[in-house]
Amino acid sequence: MEDYRNKYFDNACTSFPKPAEVGNAMLKHLNEGGSYGRAAYNRIISSTRAVEETREKLGSFMGTKHFSNIVFDYNATSAINKILSGFSFKHKTVLVSPLEHNAVMRPLTLLGIKVEILPHNKDGYIAVEQISPSMIEHADMVIVNHISNVNGVVQPISQLKEVFSGTPLLVDASQSLGKVEVLADEWNIDFVAFTGHKGLLGPTGTGGFYVKNSDVLKATVVGGTGSNSASFEMPNYMPDKFQAGTPNITGIYGLQAALNNKPKNSWDWLTLHSILNELKQNSKIRVLCAEDYTFQSDVFSIFPCNEDVSGFAYKLNNEYGIQVRSGLHCSPLAHKTLGTFPKGSVRFSLSPYHTNNDLEFLYSSILNAI
């Protein structure tokens, strides 16, 4: 008898499955062709419309009316690199959440920027009330991983911006966009970096960033834009300023289809919370999740106390077909914060296509494997 259970629990790595329309849209573009904005024949005009409609739709997903300030890039990492390398750091100091990914930590290290960790609870949730005035004064920027890719904690972005009203805030929305509310305008966020292939359910190779005020960034990647072509200088207007070269049009077709066909969750939060509660009762594992489930997303980890994390992940796959990622998840800082460095953890991340039955199968598989 065929097993129809969805055993893929690595959606924080990349989402699977995608809406069927994603592949169809990409195939349509591959078969019909068309570049972006470089000429005025129908094939190009159609592709250009698709890119611009996707940009506008992304604006609604991230809560901004200023969708012209959304730039396409190939992933959040590339976008974060462009933001950080294009920003002028006066004090050479930034404040980061204790759950940052190496997509942030490595560029900061490369740039020689001093990093200070924001005060936080045991689960890495930022303790906004403990932020001191001196921290605010000398920080050039605050950088926050909106949802941790290790324990799934959702950070309090709007409260943070209230405290750091005069300090630029960069939100890494890699794990959050498409899953939880992102309100760039209302929260007054300065930069949002995003990827298309996780919570948005689009293809890999799509992503980018939103910038509230493009004047605060210089372009670090330059080239052809199809505009102001007589000049060797990059245009200073958006989105051209940060969008040199042909974008990933095929990927953007897929992303557009994903945005237009986003499914609702087929599982419920109570089931997930009850599974987390049950797992916490097991003395053989440590559960990495939010202390308060109000701030819990659909990502969590476990640390097997008496077993190697990679061996446990292998066992889950080999014996139960459960596909997960083990190790540090490119987030050594998060694991240092959570006390699981250098071994890391075994991470589980859900899809809207999972059902409560899939979650219960996951739970029983973990219990049997431990």
């Binding site: 904005g37 470089r38 000429a39 611009e52 940009r55 199809g226 505009s227 102001n228 207007y237």
Partner: protein, 72 residues
């Protein structure tokens, strides 16, 4: 022969925004390469009927879409 006009924008992003506005109201238009005797930052422009220009201009301005125009 009816006089024609082109609307000029700074980039293709704005051309597509303007096209959406014109399309919604059902005016005749074409996206064409900018005629070589006209100077424009963007290689594409929108060709419209001159008689429609005052209405289209109003719509574009209401949406905050900056443009210039030339008779061709």
């Amino acid at each position: 022969m009816e006089e024609r006009r082109v609307l000029l924008f700074r980039n293709i992003h704005v051309v597509i925004q303007a096209e959406k506005v014109i399309l919604e109201k059902g005016y005749w238009y074409q996206i064409i390469p900018v005629p070589s005797n006209i100077s424009s930052e963007c290689g594409m422009c929108i060709h419209i009927k001159t008689n429609d220009y005052k209405f289209i201009k109003y719509l574009l301005e209401a949406k905050g879409i900056t443009h210039s125009s030339e008779i061709i």
